[in-house]
């Protein structure tokens, strides 16, 4: 039986590149994504749909903020931290940003060591990424409880426009959920890599397809997307 869903795309020796390649790929009357495995193309399509979800959250935030005549709370003050006698604006958010970027860096290393079949370093980097991700979620929990203790609720807050709370909990909560799910999957993947599943190509419990180190790259795509979303949240919600 011909395995049409094979991970290896059948690829002639040379394909046109650039725009002629784009037209060639899409008009080939076959799979459009040449040389891209099913895992990766499905992850990209999922990420595209997730992009729309987060876009619509940010859009509703923009609409709420632009259409209210009550002043919007100043994020710089709301999210400031007092250390000693000094007031640092957005300090916790800045640390969270750096933690998430660091985790993206370790994820990239995991993908790279994976393709080099360095089992132990890959697993180690996945675990470091998961720990940084969990740190991020932990700081978010701290931030939520701080705001809740200051009286921020989804229906109102003492600082200004009542939509602030709802938008804040919705957007950061959805992002935090993504990070948490990512941490769980990172740990599962680290376990699989450590056990050597991708070296012996053992079949996955869910897809029953042969495991390969490409799985680590696909995991990486998800993780970098979570980082990417945070870039936008940081810019629009915290800095704007």
């Amino acid at each position: 039986m011909t395995d049409t869903s094979s991970n290896m795309a059948s690829k002639p020796a040379s394909r046109p590149v650039g725009l002629p390649g784009l037209i060639d790929d899409w008009s080939s009357d076959q799979r459009a994504f040449k040389g891209v495995g099913w895992r990766k193309s499905m992850m990209w399509i999922f990420l595209l749909s997730d992009t729309f979800i987060f876009s619509i959250f940010l859009l509703s935030y923009m609409t709420a903020r632009m259409s209210t005549k009550v002043g919007w709370p100043n994020a710089s003050e709301v999210f400031s931290l007092h250390i000693g006698n000094t007031n640092f604006p957005l300090l916790l958010i800045a640390i969270m940003t750096f933690v998430l970027i660091s985790s993206s860096g370790t994820m990239v290393l995991a993908v790279n060591y994976g393709y080099r079949k360095d089992r132990k370093l890959t697993a180690l980097m996945l675990i470091v990424t998961a720990v940084l991700g969990a740190t991020f979620v932990g700081m978010q929990v701290f931030e939520w409880s701080k705001l809740i203790s200051e009286g921020v609720r989804p229906w109102g807050n003492p600082m200004g426009a009542p939509q602030f709370g709802g938008i804040f909990f919705m957007i950061t909560g959805f992002h935090g959920t993504h990070v948490s799910i990512g941490v769980i999957f990172l740990l599962v993947m680290a376990h699989k890599v450590w056990r050597g599943d991708y070296d012996i190509q053992s079949r996955g419990f869910f897809t029953s397809r042969k495991g390969e180190y490409e799985c680590v790259e696909v995991m990486g795509l998800y993780w970098h997307f979570v980082d990417l979303v945070w870039v936008f949240i940081f810019a629009f919600f915290y800095l704007w």
Binding site: D25, W26, G37, S104, R116
Partner: protein, 118 residues
């Protein structure tokens, strides 16, 4: 280190689609992401306001997002058929943004009018 890609013109990487690149590029991008994040934070720390603030926020955000997508997510090494399928649809979001800006402008005017009690 094995750099299996030819050059950054969207050429395919290898027959198996493996994305294996020299670590140096990753470290350079990692460093830049730190620098750009620090710059974003500095906007608020220094307290830049007005159009300069919004321009800088959007600039740093776009560069950071571009670096993550292009290098960390390997999109610059993928074939254009995939890149375009991912990068073009979000343009619809920008159209939506424009529509909602007009709409919320109208809403706030209506609210001001209504609450003024005339």
């Amino acid at each position: 280190m094995v750099g299996s890609h030819s050059s950054g013109n969207g050429a395919a990487v290898s027959d198996t689609g493996h994305q294996e690149h020299p670590l140096k590029e990753y470290f350079v991008v990692w460093g830049w992401l730190f620098i750009l994040s620090a710059c974003s934070y500095a906007i608020d720390f220094i307290g830049v306001q007005g159009y300069l603030r919004w321009t800088l926020i959007l600039f740093f955000m776009t560069v950071k997002a571009g670096l993550i997508v292009a290098v960390f997510m390997h999109l610059k090494w993928e074939r254009l058929s995939l890149s375009y399928a991912i990068l073009l649809p979000p343009i619809a979001v920008l159209v939506f943004v424009a529509i909602m800006m007009i709409e919320s402008d109208y809403t706030v005017l209506t609210r001001i009018n209504f609450f003024s009690g005339v």
